[in-house]
């Protein structure tokens, strides 16, 4: 029996695998979204804050970096075709005067250097191909009637995969009296201000969720849950690159949901070296729609 207990004791001691909690490390944070067909967008640069500290972007802003965006000749890792230098124009905000519109299906690289260190941040984005909304059957709809907004899109190219979409409705008359019933209840229950509801977006969904038309276009029925306000709305369609896709899909799981246990938090997937955040891109198109109240609302 003594030997048995000794064996058990030895097991207990040898079993203790160490997996100690590590410490906070400050990271550079990048935020930039390039849109196909538009001017080069700003790049915001900051650092993370410790979770126990007050967070204010201005306090975390990094103002001494050298920021450049390169248009590459091919995919990631290829030669630089053109370089666009950025300058600091606000707290942690870098912009460029370059007369350049983002090209769909091309690859851009962000490069950030620091004069006082050899740290470097790089990230590349493959811009989704431009596309357009070719057809909407209606310009006015009655809220929650059987006739829904139907949007037909041409194909957006993205090498190696199908397109990932996000749809947004933007209210042009965002007053409380125009909120649809569900969002009015939400607005009155929650602390968010009205501005929060003026842009109402779907989650990410795949192009293959909807069947394609014979001509290669895709027709999507816009769901009523996407409409937060009556009257005039813009419906914006976005196709997103891998960087935004990875960021959004992993960030939204940080606070639970999915199959991950509560409290089991993982870092967001970043496609960036030397820092975290997004240097992402998308292609978009927009249509307008007028939403009338139905007899039941």
């Amino acid at each position: 029996m003594r030997n048995l207990l000794l064996l058990v004791l030895l097991f207990c001691i040898s079993a203790c695998e160490t997996y100690n909690q590590d410490e906070y490390q400050e990271q550079y944070v990048v935020e930039s979204y390039q849109v196909a067909g538009r001017e080069l967008a700003e790049v915001r640069l900051s650092t993370t804050a410790s979770a126990s500290e007050l967070y204010k972007f201005e306090d975390q802003a990094v103002n001494h970096a050298s920021v450049k965006v390169h248009l590459l000749s091919g995919g990631a890792g290829t030669d630089v075709e053109e370089t666009f230098p950025f300058t600091l124009t606000g707290q942690g905000t870098y912009t460029t005067d370059a007369d350049h519109k983002i090209l769909g299906t091309r690859t851009y690289m962000l490069e950030i250097d620091f004069p006082d260190s050899d740290e470097k941040i790089t990230s590349t984005t493959l811009v989704p191909g431009t596309y357009e909304i070719t057809e909407t059957l209606q310009d006015t709809l009655i809220y929650q009637s059987s006739e829904q907004l139907e949007v037909t899109l041409t194909e957006s190219q993205y090498a190696g995969r199908q397109s990932y979409f996000v749809f947004t409705s933007i209210s042009l008359n965002p007053v409380e009296g125009n909120l649809t019933p569900f969002f009015l209840d939400l607005y009155q229950d929650e602390d968010e201000d009205l501005e929060y509801y003026t842009k109402n977006s779907s989650g990410i969904f795949n192009k293959d969720t909807y069947s394609s038309n014979p001509d290669g276009t895709t027709t999507i029925n816009y769901p009523w849950i996407g409409i937060a306000f009556y009257r005039d709305n813009l419906i914006v369609s976005h196709t997103i690159d891998d960087n935004i896709y990875d960021f959004v899909r992993t960030q939204q799981v940080q606070l639970g949901g999915s199959t991950i246990s509560p409290g089991e938090i993982q870092n967001v997937f970043y496609n960036m070296d030397g820092g975290i955040g997004i240097f992402g891109s998308m292609a978009t198109d927009t249509v307008g729609i007028h939403i009338k109240r139905g007899p039941d609302f």
Partner: protein, 754 residues
């Protein structure tokens, strides 16, 4: 591969030392004298010679190679009065002896241990048995629950007070095969995991193979839980009615000319509480209930042929209107049906054939602002099982069998009345096994076996060797060791906080089945008469784990293999179990030291090196130390007290190190708060501890029958254990808030037996 299997099977057969004998044999069923229920693992032995065995899961035993003569045969079973009878056996005689054991009316008297075989079946390596009396007497939230009782055993952990899921030896719930009357149950939960589906009134026996299951079991990486419903009283009609605060149940059973029947129904009774809450609060469900029924019909065709038909049907319904213009409607449940034929070919050959059908379904529907999301999820599993038990001589017990079935999954998702995802998986699975329990001498028992599995989708063939041995150096010590290879073709998409939307997926081409090895060492001792002290250490590997990728927002258009992430894991630990089995004060103390680790690509990598190697991490349910104490005290003829105390290391959680806010995402005005973390689940919640007590009083109900009043107090000192931490972004700096588990809860129930 098949040829290899048969060659190995032949080798196994060759090791049998079959000798022609002129000796006799004795066999039969052992049953409860009051109800006629067959007793599983009851012990039977000869007084004068060291020869004994125990009944199988159908209550049947057979002792072969007994020399002619006169013997005193003794039979015992926990909770029953010992039985003995003198028999005379002549040469070549096959003596049929069906034994009826009288239950002890109270547990005050000591149980006489008549044979070392007494505990052998129940104390096999990796095996645990839960007595139904214990299930009914341990304090439980709102209603007695099988799984909550199992969670008290060493090696078995609970995810939280809200989950009845079984996390056994570092495995997740889908790594445990759950069988009700030999039929697979896919979602054994009510109220989204709060209760298990098994009605304690309908249950006869609960057996758990925590690990090292022999070749007759397969299909999961970890454990096997076998639950057997009652056959029904073969002597007289009887029943019970239990009224509880939030659930009530009725069970009736009785004999008929050719056998017996049993029917049990249970339903939640939350409606009055919900009605009261609805008057003052929003978001209270319109409909919220669960119900289940169990039934069994037995037909004893002859001494050698018994037939039974068992069914289970259970469902949960909830309908919650919330806010203006929104509604959640959910229905889910299980149905099982099994037909069983037991045939005794001879005193040496016993057989059992089963046809099983199992269905699991869930139909969640969300309707928000005129848009609906609906899921239509059905699993159908139809199978046939055949098991043969052959006793060529007194040293060998040979088992062989087949399990073959068709597994069908139909999963359809609809968004805004359009089908957005559809999957129909239709698989055939077949397993065959052969197993030999060899007793070369009084001190040794060696069980070896092989199990061969085939799964049609992907055409996977997997061979599983199993081996266990036991050495008894002295009368009260048994040393055991076991090894086994296990495969699993299924994975469960679920969430520990909510099990109403469970989806099972299978391996397929590009998605190989998971597999793992288990190594166990054990020592079972009887330090004093009436006490037991058991120790087991285990190590198990988990390879090719496949689980639904939690980071996919939409899988439309993805190849099947791309919806999974593939990982690996391992677990090891030590379990100690000290019990006092009889007397006024009885109970047990179970202690577990356990470690479990997982690793998935791109998960738990260093934030500064996202392309670096993924690191192993402990899942949330990992607890290093876990102690459970269960005590029963028979105060007098009427009163009995039961208490459970649990203490465990806090569960793992991920500490949030840093944060930032993304403000410029073009499609939203919402600020995206983002965490940065270090190692996943490297911190620990505060230690968990809880004391529950229960008092029960037996009495009479107007001379119509016996009654039992049960008063229970859950979490006596109302310790607010932490489930997880929530982070509040409305404050700056962010605040960490505790999400707590159950507070103090009183429960009252009243049972009448007639």
């Amino acid at each position: 591969m098949t040829k290899t299997f048969y060659a190995l099977a032949l080798l196994l057969l060759l090791q049998l030392n079959v000798q022609a004998q002129e000796s006799g044999s004795i066999n039969g069923y052992i049953t409860d004298a009051e109800s006629g229920e067959t007793l599983i693992s009851a012990n039977i032995a000869f007084k004068s010679i060291n020869k004994g065995t125990s009944t199988n899961t159908l209550g049947y035993y057979s002792l072969t190679e007994v020399e002619a003569g006169t013997y005193t045969i003794m039979c015992s079973y926990i909770g029953y009065k010992p039985f003995q009878k003198e028999i005379t056996l002549s040469r070549g005689e096959n003596f049929r002896l069906d034994i009826e054991l009288q239950p002890n009316s109270l547990e005050l008297e000591e149980i006489t241990v008549v044979s070392d075989a007494e505990e052998k079946e129940q104390k096999n390596i990796g095996v645990a048995r839960i007595e139904t009396d214990l299930i009914k007497s341990v304090p439980a939230v709102f209603t007695a629950d099988v799984f909550r009782s199992i969670q008290l055993l060493p090696g078995v952990k609970a995810a939280s007070d809200f989950s009845s899921g079984l996390y056994i030896r570092g495995g997740s719930p889908d790594q445990t095969l759950i069988l009700l009357d030999r039929t697979t149950v896919y979602n054994p939960s009510h109220f989204f995991g709060f209760f298990s589906t098994f009605n304690p009134d309908a249950i006869k026996d609960v057996r758990l193979h925590k690990g090292g299951a022999p070749a007759e079991y397969g299909g999961r990486l970890g454990s096997v839980l076998s639950i057997y419903n009652k056959d029904g009283n073969r002597k007289e009609p009887s029943g019970s009615v239990t009224l509880g605060m939030l659930t009530s149940r009725v069970m009736v059973e009785g004999p008929y000319s050719k056998g017996s029947w049993m029917f049990a129904i249970r339903r939640s009774t939350l409606e009055p509480l919900l009605a009261a809450l609805r008057a003052s609060q929003d978001g209270i469900p319109d409909k919220f209930y669960f119900m289940d029924i169990n039934g069994k019909l037995n037909y004893d065709a002859s001494e050698s042929d018994k037939f039974s038909l068992a069914l289970y049907s259970g469902k949960d319904r909830v309908n919650i209107p919330f806010m203006d213009d929104a509604n959640i409607n959910l229905g889910y449940g299980n149905q099982t049906l099994s037909g069983n034929w037991t045939h005794i070919f001879s005193e040496k050959l016993f057989s059992n054939f089963v046809l099983t059908g199992s269905r699991y379904f869930n139909y969640p529907e969300f309707q928000i602002a005129g848009t609906t999301f609906e899921r239509d999820n059905n699993i159908y599993d139809f199978s046939v099982k055949a098991d043969l038990q052959y006793l060529p001589n007194s040293r060998h017990q040979l088992k062989t069998g087949l399990w073959s079935g068709i597994f069908t999954l139909k999963l359809n998702d609809f968004f805004d009345n359009q089908k957005i995802f559809s999957s129909r998986i239709h698989n055939r699975y077949t397993s065959v096994y052969i197993q030999d329990e060899w007793t070369p001498g009084e001190k040794w028992k060696i069980t070896s076996g092989l199990r061969l599995n085939h799964f049609s989708d992907g055409d996977f063939v997997r061979l599983e060797p199993r081996f266990s041995m036991e050495y008894q150096p002295m009368e009260k010590i048994r040393l055991q060791a076991a090894y086994g290879r296990y495969n699993q073709f299924l994975t469960l998409i679920s969430n520990e906080a909510f099990s109403g939307f469970d989806v099972w997926l299978t391996s397929a081409e590009g998605v190989p089945p998971s597999y793992g090895d288990q190594f166990i060492l054990g020592a079972k001792t009887i330090p004093f008469e009436g006490y037991g002290f058991d120790l087991e250490v285990y190590y198990r590997s988990m390879e090719d784990l496949f689980e639904y990728d939690p980071f996919l927002p939409d899988v439309a258009g993805f190849p099947y293999e791309d919806v999974f992430r593939f990982g690996r894991g391992y677990a090891y630990g030590l379990e100690a179990f000290f019990e006092k089995r009889s007397g006024k004060l009885s109970g047990f103390i179970g202690y577990t030291l356990g470690y479990t680790w997982r690793k998935y690509p791109h998960f738990n990598v260093e934030i500064s090196n996202p392309d670096g190697a993924a690191r192993f991490y402990p899942p949330k349910y990992d607890r290093k130390h876990d102690i459970n104490v269960v005590l029963n005290y028979q105060i007098n003829d009427r009163w009995k007290a039961t208490s459970t105390f649990s203490y465990a290391t806090g569960q793992a959680y991920t500490k949030v190190h840093g944060r930032y806010i993304q403000t410029e995402l073009p499609w939203t005005n919402d600020e995206r708060n983002v965490f940065t973390v270090g190692k996943v689940n490297a911190s620990r919640l505060p230690a968990y501890h809880r004391l529950d007590i229960s008092f029960s009083r037996r009495g009479k109900f107007f001379n119509l029958g016996e009654s039992e009043l049960q008063l229970q107090l859950i979490n006596v000192y109302s310790h607010r254990n932490v489930w997880f931490y929530n982070y509040n972004f409305d404050t700056n700096p962010i605040e960490r808030e505790e999400v707590n588990l159950l507070p103090i809860l009183p429960t009252l129930s009243y049972t009448v037996k007639f």
